[in-house]
Symmetry: C2
Subunit: 328 residues, 2 copies
């Protein structure tokens, strides 16, 4: 076992390199970082914590743990329409941490920093007898007054969903070794990957400014998250079950295991974006989908109701409870 | 035992009230908060984590735990010359948390929010089988280009120290039931209080803009923290041991227990501000001290050396190692 570096060495070796490119991070040698916004820009800030055993299975690749901790935060920025700038990291390491583990963790952060054009702005590392805690506070910017909110949905708006949903929940079952019937290794890898390394929609989010009336990232499940929009916007929603975008792998599993149908409505962790936009923007949304190469699917309509109604192919309300759906 | 609220109820009951007054926090109902800065202002951001058993004795008042977690971050903002605006809170609760504990914790936050004029902007709460983790990311503002840095100290600058230092370390010994000789209960309470509830110098920090050349808060000990300034500023320092400002309670203890003398140099956790300013500003600094009612004491001079030399009353360099001083 090699000697472990002091906190100062650790900052110098692993974290200061991640701040290069952010002049206001001062190479992590000061008490705080300084961040300049453009004229008439606003700061958008969010924080999310991932905790060992609660958010991780313990078998994940170390770099992927770091990347997921970043990505769930970037997803919140995207759903606000913000362009990400940087983040601070509060890292509590278990007492038995190793430099090898930390090197892999920093490597994962570095990869995603390059992918999403962000930098580490500051942080704090402690070790404790508790397990791994990763708290990221991510910062981004939008032009003043143009952030996307949950409260702007209007009656008649089209409900749009990016990518496909339900995958991550099945991926988690796969990683927990649940049998999901006979599906290909490729489908298995796809679903597991959707849980392990979600893709925050950082290009979509800012492109929705001026186009969408409300947005949220799907982390609690499509029905619950659409419900959050309805609550804050004081509207209802008609969500068409058959129109919710699904991956081929998802469909292959559900066809064999109809008991998993409730996942269709309750599954979170996909980090896709659900947004609403007036129907006159339908063609612009489709153009945007083409332009950024990301499927955007209309899945329902905002109504003058007061909650989310899920309807089947015949337009009849479905009894979600009968599918095993539980509103947490 | 009463039923515990869901995460949503918990936000509504304890945390959303702490965001009132920050319009961009949206009552904590959105994915992220939006923060506007004044024209030509810059954001200053810092993060610090406090962890059970490492940073706490376990006997502290719950409200004080919350307040200290905020204050150590506000101290970093102060040392950058920033006016605090708000903070995000990532809170990991042990599995056995109670609503009573959380109510006291939120009450502590609320008290310090009022005292320092800040608001909760967002957060994330998880419970886990690990212990209590409190990560605060505090945000403040300075006029563009006017934040105080560690790197600006110049040869000939006066070294100033706010308040008194060394108290918190003795307070910790008291809280750990170490005998510190015969000192009054009042002195005992004073020293313990300096550890339990430091006073971030939020009025001093912004007032030093344009007056100080470099600043840092004393959290690692006066010699180490002055050393950080010297390193980044590429200068040396002559720190006069007898000029370091001490409280009466501190002096009473050290007089009886000279073996604690090394605490004079290594003691951290006071969260006072050490800053440097050109000697032509000496009278302005003294005026500021009067104005804000906080002692500011000259304790040495920046030199053309490359490290911190501590000198005794006769001007001779002291052998810190002989006092038991250890550079951590």
């Amino acid at each position: 076992m090699t000697a472990r570096p002091s906190e100062f060495d650790l900052i110098r070796q692993f974290f200061a390199p991640l701040s290069v490119g952010a002049p206001g991070a001062f190479n992590l040698t000061d008490d705080a970082a300084v961040l300049s916004l453009g004229p008439s820009e606003e700061l958008v800030v969010t924080t999310d914590t991932l905790v060992a055993r609660r958010h991780f299975l313990g078998t994940e690749d170390t770099a992927d743990i770091a990347r997921k901790a970043l990505r769930v935060n970037l997803s919140d920025l995207a759903s606000m329409g913000a362009k990400p700038i940087g983040y601070t990291l509060a890292l509590a390491l278990p007492d038995d941490w190793t430099t090898e583990w930390l090197a892999a963790f920093a490597d994962g952060l570095g990869r995603d920093q390059r992918e999403f054009g962000i930098h580490l702005l500051g942080g704090d590392t402690v070790s404790s007898d508790a397990g791994l805690h990763i708290s990221v506070t991510a910062m981004g910017a939008t032009p003043a007054g143009q952030s996307l909110r949950r409260g702007g949905a209007r009656i008649g708006d089209t409900i749009w969903v990016s990518g496909t949903v339900g995958d991550a929940a099945l991926g988690l079952l796969i990683l927990r070794d649940d049998s999901l019937g006979e599906i290909s290794d490729e489908a298995r890898r796809f679903l597991a990957g959707r849980f392990l390394l979600p893709t925050p929609r950082c290009t979509l989010g800012p492109a929705l400014r001026g186009l969408a009336t409300a947005a949220i990232d799907i982390s609690d499940g499509i029905v619950a998250d659409l419900g959050h929009i309805c609550e804050v916007s004081a509207v209802g929603a008609d969500l068409k079950a058959d129109a919710i975008p699904r991956s081929e792998a998802y469909t292959a599993v559900i066809t064999q295991q109809p008991s998993l149908l409730q996942k269709a409505f309750s599954a979170g962790d996909d980090y896709e974006i659900l947004f609403t936009a007036p129907p006159e923007n339908d063609s612009k949304v489709k153009e945007l989908s083409q332009k950024i190469g990301l499927p955007l699917t209309p899945a329902g309509t905002i109504t003058d109701g007061d909650s989310v109604i899920v309807t089947d192919a015949t337009g009849q309300p479905m009894d979600l409870a009968a599918t095993g759906y539980q509103h947490f």
